[in-house]
């Protein structure tokens, strides 16, 4: 084996080792769809979700926790199927892990201060999406994150907005549509 051949083998092997984009796309679609559905359900059926003082809190903590369990299971399963973890994949996993922990902290602080956590969570989501997009070099995710940040900053200055609709608009453009674009993206192109 000569040196040209060695260089060719190294390049070919590195090219084969890619960070799989589809699972991240699936995660964004899953969470986007879940949050939008939950927001719309509460918007149209407030008497069911807000039937007592704590029901809405249980609704917004319990269902996302079940979602977290499901996506963790899905990600482990996909990880085993792929058989390797790239450095990029590890970075993305850490970023979203930190987001998950921050999400729980924001919920607890909001609960203690008796404020609505929607804007803070969406702002955090926007920064996490923007970072993920920049790291994996996928502009639609980056733009989704930036537009979510701008939208949330705007809502801080507009009083009286319905946070459920803020959730629907923000998540649709910041998470669901970019997630769909990532999921449908053909990685070999």
């Amino acid at each position: 084996m000569n040196k040209e051949e060695q260089i060719r083998i190294i390049n070919k092997t590195i090219a084969k080792t890619k960070f799989a984009l589809k699972p991240l796309g699936f995660n964004l679609i899953f969470w986007g769809f879940l949050i939008i559905s939950m927001s719309l359900f509460q918007y149209f059926f407030p008497e069911i979700v807000q039937f007592n003082k704590y029901s809405a809190l249980i609704y917004w903590v319990l269902i996302p926790l079940l979602g977290m369990i499901y996506t963790t299971y899905y990600n482990i399963k996909i990880g085993n199927k792929i058989g390797y973890e790239t450095i990029l994949g590890r970075v993305i996993k850490i970023i979203w892990g930190v987001f998950g922990v921050s999400w729980i902290v924001i919920i607890i602080i909001s609960l203690l201060n008796n404020v609505n956590p929607v804007q803070d969570i969406l702002f955090l989501l926007g920064t996490t999406l923007m970072m993920s997009g920049l790291i994996i070099k996928f502009n639609k995710i980056t733009l989704g994150g930036i537009s979510l940040i701008i939208f949330i900053l705007y809502t801080y200055f507009v009083p009286g907005l319905n946070f459920l609709l803020v959730n629907v608009v923000g998540i649709t453009f910041g998470m669901l549509l970019p997630g769909l674009a990532l999921y449908l993206y053909k990685e070999n192109e």
Binding site: Q6, I9, I10, T13, G83, Y84, T86, R90
Partner: protein, 95 residues
């Protein structure tokens, strides 16, 4: 560069293994089989040689009651591969 390492990486399967592992945090046997286009027996032999040279490390564990083996590159492996790659680059530039 270390002649022993040069000799080790002269084998295409071993070179593929190291080129793959330098790029990932860890990889299992199945992934290595796909990447190297090798047979199970041959791959096992080459992995053993790389492990003996302390270029890679092996982690065995149980996953859902099935034994699983993960492979990753050691610091020595990284350093040797980088040196090996620099040599190749120098050769390429001189050409």
């Amino acid at each position: 560069m270390n002649k022993e390492i040069e000799k080790l990486l002269f084998n295409p399967i071993r070179l593929k293994i190291i080129s793959f592992l330098i790029n990932v945090e860890h990889g299992n046997f199945k992934a290595l089989l796909e990447i190297t286009d090798s047979t199970k027996g041959n791959l096992s032999i080459q992995l053993k040689k790389l492990n003996e040279a302390k270029l890679i490390k092996i982690k065995k564990y149980f996953q859902q009651s099935y034994p699983t083996t993960d492979y990753s590159i050691t610091n020595k492996g990284k350093k040797n591969f980088e040196d090996f790659f620099k040599q190749l680059e120098l050769y390429n530039m001189k050409k």
